[in-house]
Symmetry: C2
Subunit: 198 residues, 2 copies
Amino acid sequence: MGRKSLKEIRQLEIIKMFYKVAKKEGYENTSIAKIAKVMDINPSLIIHYFETKEDLTYALIDYILDRYLLIYSIKSKDGITKEDLKQTIVLLFSKKWNTLFDDGLFYTFYALAFREKKIKAKYKTILDSLRLALADMISQCNARQEIQVPAPKTTADFIFVILDGAYFYLSMETDKNAYALRLESYKQKAFELLGITA
Amino acid sequence: MGRKSLKEIRQLEIIKMFYKVAKKEGYENTSIAKIAKVMDINPSLIIHYFETKEDLTYALIDYILDRYLLIYSIKSKDGITKEDLKQTIVLLFSKKWNTLFDDGLFYTFYALAFREKKIKAKYKTILDSLRLALADMISQCNARQEIQVPAPKTTADFIFVILDGAYFYLSMETDKNAYALRLESYKQKAFELLGITA
DNA sequence: ATATAAATTGAATGAATGTTCAATTTATTT
DNA sequence: AAATAAATTGAACATTCATTCAATTTATAT
């Protein structure tokens, strides 16, 4: 009896709008009232679905990290070929996903992780799962004898170190040409590690 | 006539306290009132020395980036030997400066740079100057024929890519042992790039 | 001592914050 | 049509925020 629950639907709507506003104006400038205003609903409705702003923030972080995983689209599946591996590297070192994903917010919450263990754990999980998935791909290609990479786990980790370090610097680079050239050279390093010619 | 200006002294005092409070409670939770309370002064005095909170924030960022440069202590000087270079790498890949420097705040403002061009420019300048200084050290060692590194600038850049990428991941690592082992392996990579045995 | 200028205080501002709670609206079942 | 339960609103809450401005204190030079 009574009314059908809209909880999950509304929650997702709110999170998405939170993401949208925070992307534009920054997380620290995004209040519950602002989100409510844009959605043309009452602020107390947001509190109704997320008891505190903290809960809402955690939900947003989960949303962002899920997207982060998705965009990288490294799937744990069988039958990975050298070509799959190659395409994955190309994808990792391309920034076409940039339009879908907001680096600013990703780093904002990354910074927050330094003071909040829960967030730190979330990030760690994501970073580890990406490494694991890439290592698995490398192992499969090894098994097929398409490549000979001595330590798949270490190599996968190092490729992500390069990737993260690359974007850390490149995010501050405004010159598009310089950006592209550098990114390309970092990609080459990754290919070298895998013994693949691009 | 009149009173001697305390402007610079007070400003520095305020910045230092801002840093201290923000380090403990986070930048977004640090208000002018809080800083004033800890300093046992009136909030309006802070506004008197920094017209807006924005100005105060910029000052704090400058303070942090100056420290960042200092702690890495890569100096542009002549007469660099292979041993100096070696020690610099060891320093870069050690975290003894961790106690002096707050990563959380560094990343907080790094994240802020995505929305504020001014901050982005500041960070870019720092990142570039570090790379340039290291490249210069490598070149000097090349000239002494102590090492043979083909492209000093590219190599210096790549070492910092590894360094930044390493800390990006390691900051989320809570296991101290795993942390130390990984950091050591990344350092070895840097030494390999320089053709130096550690 | 007096003048001067900077340091510092204190009170007040309006706006925005997250959150509460009771009242009302709306959809669904019987 | 009546009952029910969730959705949604609206008003109110105390708190905190950055900032203002006039008043006062304090140090220095003449």
